[in-house]
Amino acid sequence: MNKETYLNILNNLLDDFPWQEKNDALEYIAEYFDEACSEQEVVKDLGTPQEYAASLRESLGSSLPPQIPQPKQEQETETTTMPDAKEGTGSVSAASHSSAGDSIQDEQAFSAFTPGSGSYAKDENGQAYSLWEVLHSLYLKDKSDQMEKGDSLSCIRFAAWQILAAVLVLFIPLTMLFISVRACLAALSNAVVYGMMLIFDGMFYFLGVALLFAGVSVLLCAVSLWLCRYRLKAAVRVLENRMEITQSCL
């Protein structure tokens, strides 16, 4: 059995693992294959994918967060709309998976979803799942393979530079226009970059990050404007004083 086959089988067997857990485990195994002298040696060390998955499940099972149950039936819809809660409070719409046969959440599992009651959904057994897990499962389940490890880091680094630039600009005197335009550009560029990543890589994770940093940029914009107004007023006052002094001298 070669590396690709082993990883593919293992990937399927760990399908109900959280994405991060599964990804880490697969990376570990991939590296193990790369380092080992032969693929036979790896299979000898690890056992079959089924054995390894069972072993991992046994070892990690208790520490894994609760998972959304797998569907009873496969669905091929473009949009999945959660049924309203029993109390009749709202619904959640979400983009579905792109290919037929992919796992999608069982609508019944979230029949008691109540946005107003906190970020939880409940399945038919009363098991609660966080809203994040629901969204993660709905949006990322079949897109996670496209995510690359360096993306989050570069994303955060970019945002940090944006914030740093915005902060530095605060200390450059004065030009209100420049400062507000700079802050607006920071917010806009963040939104564009993260939006692009969201569209092309399915990075729903970064929507939250984008909103966060865009919000901080907008906040800086407001602070900049406040500082400018304050400083301008002070400058005008100084000017007026000087003019008065000059007039009195004359």
Binding site: Y28, D34, G47, L56, S59
Partner: protein, 104 residues
Amino acid sequence: MSFQAGGTLLEMCVLAALSHEDLYGYALTQLITRHLPVSESTLYPVLRRLKKEECLYTRDEMMDGRNRRYYVLTSKGKARLEQNLTEWREFTGSINALLEEKYE
């Protein structure tokens, strides 16, 4: 061997191995399995647990065009190792004392 290394003992061995040098997964596995009869599938969960408990962290290094993930001991990991070693010495001391008493 009828004695199995697992749980805290395996944790201690992993921490001890990493206290000498940073190791990547395969090298660590080879080192541990040279001394202890453990399967690789037992080691990965231990590494994951130790990482989660911030006893170690990982750093990636490119080697011959591919990525190697090195496991590095943290100060918390060093403290855990010290604690484990102390307890291990007490434990083996007690067992040895018992065995010697029995056979004398």
